[in-house]
């Protein structure tokens, strides 16, 4: 399958390892991974903060970059960016776009997937041949869970990983408190939510907390680093791309 990889602006810039892992994983599964080079950002931050005019060029660029009919699926290692493409682009296009943009947005929306749902739903794979001999807990991010309804899919993928020790995260479905600019505008409330999330994570004794969104992991990881918890964060793709022959070596966590 010819897959268009959307790196997301955050992944591309701050968390390239998660995107590399996604690219490698999809290629290893036998797919043709293409990276439309002019891609930038889905505009989620703008829309979620209340700005719908400003991201029009971003929405247009996304539709153009991935509109190529030879791209059969657009895959991204982010539930919230996939949610933005699937739920917000048409709002922007409807309000401030033209007929062309609306058509383009609808076409791309129909073939856009977050990584775990692409693997499980489209490729029908749960065992990707990964090996990760560590104690791991999984945080389902809000947009994956409630916007995209990925449900158990990431957990099914993780359960199939060789030698992983998966531990359940208490109150897993509670938001970590990130919410994009929410963490800036309502920093104190966000911190209180983060604190509870971190208590649950550290309580599991996991070496790694994983999730399908680098943004939430940046938030949780930033908190875990500040309290020197010893638990690191790692994107789901990084676990799934770790194999016996090229295992992911855990970096020393801040203590």
């Amino acid at each position: 399958m010819r897959i268009g990889l959307f790196a997301t602006c955050l992944g591309d810039t701050l968390f390239p390892e998660a995107v590399k892992s996604t690219a490698v994983l999809l290629a290893r599964l036998g797919h043709d991974v293409v990276f439309p080079p002019e891609q930038t950002c889905c505009g989620q931050m703008h829309v979620n903060t209340g700005y719908q005019r400003e991201p029009v060029p971003l929405v247009r660029n996304f539709a153009e970059q991935f509109g190529d009919p030879s791209i059969e699926a657009v895959v991204m290692p982010s539930g919230s960016c996939a949610g933005s493409v699937r739920h917000q682009h048409e709002i922007v296009a409807e309000r401030y776009g033209d007929a062309g943009l609306r058509t383009g947005v609808a076409a791309v929306k129909a073939k856009t997937y977050e990584l775990s749902e692409f693997l499980v739903d489209v490729l029908g794979v749960t065992d990707v041949g990964a090996y990760f001999p560590h104690r791991v807990t999984y945080h389902p991010t809000c947009h994956s869970l409630r916007m995209l309804r990925v449900g158990e899919k990431p957990l099914r993928l993780l359960r199939a990983v060789e030698d992983i020790r998966l531990v359940e995260l208490p109150e897993a479905e509670a938001c970590c408190g990130f919410g994009g600019t929410f963490a800036v505008k309502n920093a104190a409330t966000s911190s209180a939510m983060l604190r509870d999330k971190m208590d649950h994570i550290t309580g599991t004794g996991a070496e790694v907390c994983t999730a399908g969104d680098s943004s939430c992991l940046m938030h949780i990881g930033g908190g875990l680093s500040r309290i020197r918890s010893g638990t690191r964060t790692l994107h789901l793709a990084q676990i799934l791309s770790s194999t016996r022959t090229s295992p992911h070596v855990l970096a020393e966590a801040t203590r």
Binding site: K20, L29, F35, Y51, T126, C175, S190, R226
Partner: protein, 523 residues
């Protein structure tokens, strides 16, 4: 008292629809004094409040899931409930007229109130007409919204709240903090202290057992119920087809107020009307299971006008606008009017759970409050209108949407209201930053250059030298989070590098050994 300025709201321009006005600024309880982040910060510092809220919301969340999970057709009920409410809004003029006609036919009197001020005046006049200087109250969001108790007091009329939680709040001189359980921020120890302090003749040996506290409230209000001549209630539903009003409750205080006094005055928001009596078959399933997590609340009362020999012989229905038509005029925002006040969204909201209801400054707190309050009362009353901060009081986690029995897409409404706010706010520092960010991001070359030189964070923030301390507006973030340094190489530059190309070639070579159709299968 100031009146809002805005488009023409009277019938001067015949044939030209005018945008209806919001609830008048400075009236009622639809606006706090501080913006949400500041108010929340103080509440967050209250450890007792955090414990009370955490425990209470956890309890109710579990019960609600049990009660809704029990019904195999829960989702179908939600679909029906959502559609009935939307259909109701579409047909509001005819339904209100029908309701008025039916109530009148059955011996009731219908009054219309453009806003809270007018509703308060109507109720006070009706109470005075009876010659009574006190009224019993059934818990009602509409009368809280308009500040009826305060107005009655200014007219020399004493209002007694009879719902246990409302009583606790009233006796403590406090404000409600939850739609269903206004005293959710209080625990049993605090309630005992309030009762010991405020209830005349209470047993000084009163302990903290909830049943004993409830019994103390029973004893206190018993005599009032037996002798009161006027009661004021809200309404959960008003059936247009039959003129039937309904109040859903638990304690029996509602039944007391709706049954024993000679005069009953019901204040109902115009959005509470339902087309058909049979629609109750949906809402009597949705509401109790969503609100208290029960299969059915202990008591529901229904009455139609006046019944000779049974209950109040003088019945008044006050139909309240107070910004509801302004919300109705908003294609997106009107969905908030579908709310049936179950408060499920409050109980699942991670923000509400930490800050409590007072931080929202309105009688409608939590996720629904954050979308309903600005709709009713506006968010541009002043330059620093506290209501303008409400749509941002959410991480957009979506738990409220899942819990809502009438499927109000609260996260989308929040995003819409944020958009309306930025559109009306014009040029702000934030708007400029957003424009700048979009300007960079819409030009791939600029974006790549920005990545290469300084990292995206610097483009957005202006400058970020350290990673444990960031400048305003990110200082709140960096108070409790470290921020990773942008790595030397972005994904795209890695992909374009020799190393990236080699890695991808190697992965593709592996993939060639496992073509699509025999990719390793799930276990």
């Amino acid at each position: 008292m100031s009146r809002p300025t805005g488009p023409p709201t009277n019938g001067t321009f015949l044939g030209m629809p005018a945008v209806p006005p919001r609830s008048p600024y400075g009236t009622g309880h639809l606006r706090g004094t501080r913006k949400f982040p500041e108010a929340a910060r103080d509440e967050l510092g209250n450890e007792q409040l955090r414990r009370n809220l955490g425990r209470a919301t956890r309890t109710i969340r579990g019960k609600r899931l049990d009660a809704t999970g029990e019904l195999p057709d829960w989702e179908r009920l939600r679909d029906a409930g959502a559609a009935i409410k939307s259909d109701t809004m579409n047909r509001l003029p005819e339904l209100l007229e029908q309701l008025e006609r039916k109530v009148t036919e059955h011996g009731g009197t219908v009054h219309w109130a453009r806003d809270g001020v007018e509703a308060n005046e109507i109720v006070a006049r009706l109470v005075k007409d009876t010659g009574s200087d006190e009224v019993l109250k059934v818990k009602s969001m509409a009368t809280q919204e308009i500040g009826l108790n305060e107005h009655l007091e200014s007219e020399g009329i004493t209002a007694y709240e009879t719902d246990l939680a409302e009583l606790i709040v009233q006796l403590a001189g406090d404000q409600p903090s939850h739609i269903l359980v206004p005293a959710i921020h209080r625990n049993r120890d605090e309630i005992r202290e309030i009762f010991l302090r405020e209830i005349p003749g209470v047993d000084p040996g009163l302990d903290t057992v909830p049943a004993h506290l409830a019994a103390a409230a029973r004893a206190y209000l018993r005599e009032k119920f037996m002798t009161a001549r006027v009661a004021v209630s809200g309404a959960n539903f008003g059936i247009a087809e039959t003129g039937t009003l309904s109040v859903v409750e638990s304690e029996g205080n509602g039944r007391m107020c709706l049954t024993l006094p000679e005069t009953l005055i019901t204040v109902m928001g115009i959005e509470k009307v339902l087309p058909r009596f049979a629609d109750l078959e949906v809402f009597l399933q949705l509401l109790p299971r969503s609100s208290t997590g029960e299969r059915m609340n202990p008591y529901t009362s229904m009455w139609t006008g006046v019944t000779p020999g049974d209950g109040p012989q003088d019945f008044h229905l006050v139909l309240l606008d107070n910004g509801r038509t302004a919300a109705l005029a908003d294609r997106v925002g009107r969905e908030a009017l579908n709310c049936i006040r179950c408060s499920a969204c409050l109980n699942v909201c991670p923000v509400y759970e930490r800050t409590g209801g007072h931080a929202y400054g309105s009688v409608y707190p939590g996720p629904i409050g954050a979308v309903l309050t600005p709709q009713l009362a506006g968010m541009h009353g002043t330059d620093h209108d506290p209501n303008s901060s409400l749509p941002y009081a959410s991480s957009l986690c979506g738990a409220c949407f899942d819990a809502c029995p009438v499927k109000i897409d609260i996260p989308s409404l929040l995003v819409e209201l944020r958009h309306q706010h930025t559109e009306e706010s014009g040029t702000t520092a934030e708007a400029l930053a957003m424009k700048a960010a979009a300007a960079v991001m819409k030009r791939p070359k600029l974006f790549t250059a920005a990545q290469r030189t300084a990292g995206l964070g610097r483009v957005l923030a202006g400058r970020s030298g350290t990673f444990s301390r960031l400048p305003a507006p990110f200082s709140g973030w960096s108070d409790s989070r470290d921020t990773p340094a942008p790595p030397a190489q972005s994904f795209r530059s890695w992909l374009a590098s020799a190393e990236g190309a080699a890695t991808m070639r190697a992965a593709a070579a592996e993939g060639a050994r496992h073509p699509d159709d025999d990719a390793p299968e799930g276990s």
